[in-house]
Structure formats: structure tokens, C-alpha cells
Amino acid sequence: MSEDKPHASGSVEPGDTSTRVGMEVLRERGLDPEELREKLIDAIGAEFTTYYYYTNLRMHLAGHEDYKEITEDARLEDRAHFELVAPRVYELGGHLPNDIRDFADRASCPDAEVPVPSDDEGGRLRVEDLTAEQVLEVLLEAERCAIRTWSEVCDMTRDVDPRTYDMAQRILQEEIEHEAWFVELLSMERDGEINPAGHFVRGEPGDAPYSTNRRFNDSA
């Protein structure tokens, strides 16, 4: 009987490993999987660069230990977002750029650099006049960019690609929380205004309660 009834694979030939049903079902529903894939590479490029830049921004919040802790949560959660979606890029027939410079170039959000000029010699940052307010502004605008990006991905995938949509909405939930944190901190730091984020502390730094991917190992 099995010889008369090959596996039901739609337009994909049984055993064909050059095509993915996981992509064809998207195409059948009107979503271009290659376009989505490229969008995702841009989006996780931004998560990855943000993870890097937040590392540097956090270094420049000395004396504001509470700000550093919050920035650490956001920093680690942005790495979690990168790791959550990177596998999806491969499922959609893509790959990460081989050159990290290409990855950073195409990131969908601006570089979140420490907002000071650097010396011509050696590129040392001139941080004498840097304030926590300036750092918080950079952090806030980075989160806002991420919210826009993942909202776009949700729009592209809603009702069409539940797997990517699930990832994007999880990330979006955390990016919206991050924005609220930095709105609260900047409101007080810059304007002396109480503007609560309304959130409880994470269970552990960078907990990523919505978006944590399966850990590669306990140290991840």
C-alpha cells in the first residue's frame, strides 16, 4: 500500500531536501519567505549590535548602580532576542552574514554609541562631560526602534506565519517593557518626574521571561 501512496508533500517531491515545506506554506499564504528572512536578519542584527553597544553604555553609568542593573537586563534580553530568532533565519533557508561588519551594516536600528566624541588619537572616548541623562536617552531611543521593528515583523506574519509571529510578539513584549523602564529612569533623571514603568524586578538579570530560547548549556 505504501508504494502506491507516496508521502503527501504538496508541490515538494518526497525526499527533496532542496526545498522546505516550512517555506512553501508561507508562500502559499502570500508571504514571501525570502523577504521575511532578510527582514529577520536585519532585525536580529540590531539586537546583536544593541547587545554590544549596551555593554559599552553600561560601562559609563558609574555611580548609578540601579541604572546599570536595568541596562544589564535589557542588554542580556537583547542577546536572547538574537538567539531566539537566529534559528528561524536558517529554517527559512538563510544564514548569518559571514562578516560581522556586514551584519552590523544592515542592522535595522542605529548604532547605540556612547554619545560623546572620541579623541582623534586612539579613539579614546571623551567622557568628562557625559551624563546619565545622555546615556538613558540613547537607551530609550534604541528600545523605541526595536519596538517599531518587531511591530513590523508582527504585521508581516500575523495570520500567516505563526512561528515567526510567536517569536516577534514575545520580543515585542520585552522591548515595550524596556521602553517603559527607560522612560521611568529618564523622566526622573532629566525632569525630576515620577513616571512609573509599573513592572516588578526580573527573577535574575536578563531573565527574558517571554523570549528565552532553549539554552545551549547552563552557562548561556
Binding site: 536585519d42 552574514p97 544592515r106 542592522a107 535595522s108 542605529p110 523605541r144 526602534c145 517599531r148
Partner: protein, 120 residues
């Protein structure tokens, strides 16, 4: 406050409600064209809304814009009449051809500039 008229011409080939049509909206001098369009129920593509990713790129067919808020915009873009609507404030009445990200990416790649050079 000065208000300008901005004509948004949507290419016939794109997947958009207004494909092949034009819509004229009013945009204040301190307002970005993209935000004004979306507020007027004209949904144009965008992502970062900080003048970086190029998703909102358009061709400036007529008029002048202020791009000073863009995070990544080059003189060669200006010379090619390519604009980023998310950070473009009108300085005159405008006519723009929307949905030009592919053209912007080709243009950036041809000039070895990001993000086009990494996506072509």
C-alpha cells in the same frame, strides 16, 4: 506654523491600497512626512523611524526637505533625489514617489554604502 502640501505618488507595482494612485496630504513644517501620512490614513512602509534602515525611502520628484534628524543619510542620496520620509520635514510643497527602498539599496550598494553594500 507653515503647512505644506505633499503629494504622495504610490507606484502601480507595489502591494499597497493606493497602488497606482496619488494622495495629497498637509504636513506642518516641524512634522515628518511619514508620520503625517500615517496620521492621514496613508500607510507607507517604515521600520526604525530614525533615518537609518531605509525602509521608508522615496524619490523626491519636486520640492525641498530638511533631513537633519537622519541617523544615516549621505550627500550622494541627496544628489540622487532619494529621501527618507520618516525624518523628512518639508521646506516647500513636495511631490514624492513612495516605496523606493529597493532603489535606495541599489543606490547605496553602487556607492559602497550601508546597508545596500551588505544586502546586494
Amino acid at each position: 506654523m507653515i503647512t505644506y502640501e505633499v503629494e504622495l505618488a504610490v507606484p502601480e507595482t507595489v502591494d499597497a491600497d493606493l497602488a497606482g494612485e496619488s494622495r495629497t496630504i498637509e504636513v506642518d513644517e516641524d512634522e515628518y512626512v511619514l508620520a503625517a501620512a500615517r496620521a492621514a490614513d496613508v500607510w507607507l512602509p517604515a521600520d526604525c523611524q530614525q533615518g537609518w534602515c531605509t525602509t521608508c525611502a522615496a524619490e523626491l520628484l519636486e520640492g525641498e526637505v530638511d533631513h537633519s534628524a537622519a541617523k544615516r543619510y549621505y550627500d550622494v542620496d541627496r544628489r540622487a533625489d532619494l529621501v527618507l520620509l520618516c525624518v523628512a520635514k518639508p521646506r516647500s510643497d513636495l511631490r514624492v514617489l513612495t516605496h523606493q527602498q529597493e532603489a535606495m539599496l541599489d543606490h547605496r550598494a553602487a556607492n559602497s554604502l550601508p546597508p545596500g553594500r551588505s544586502k546586494r
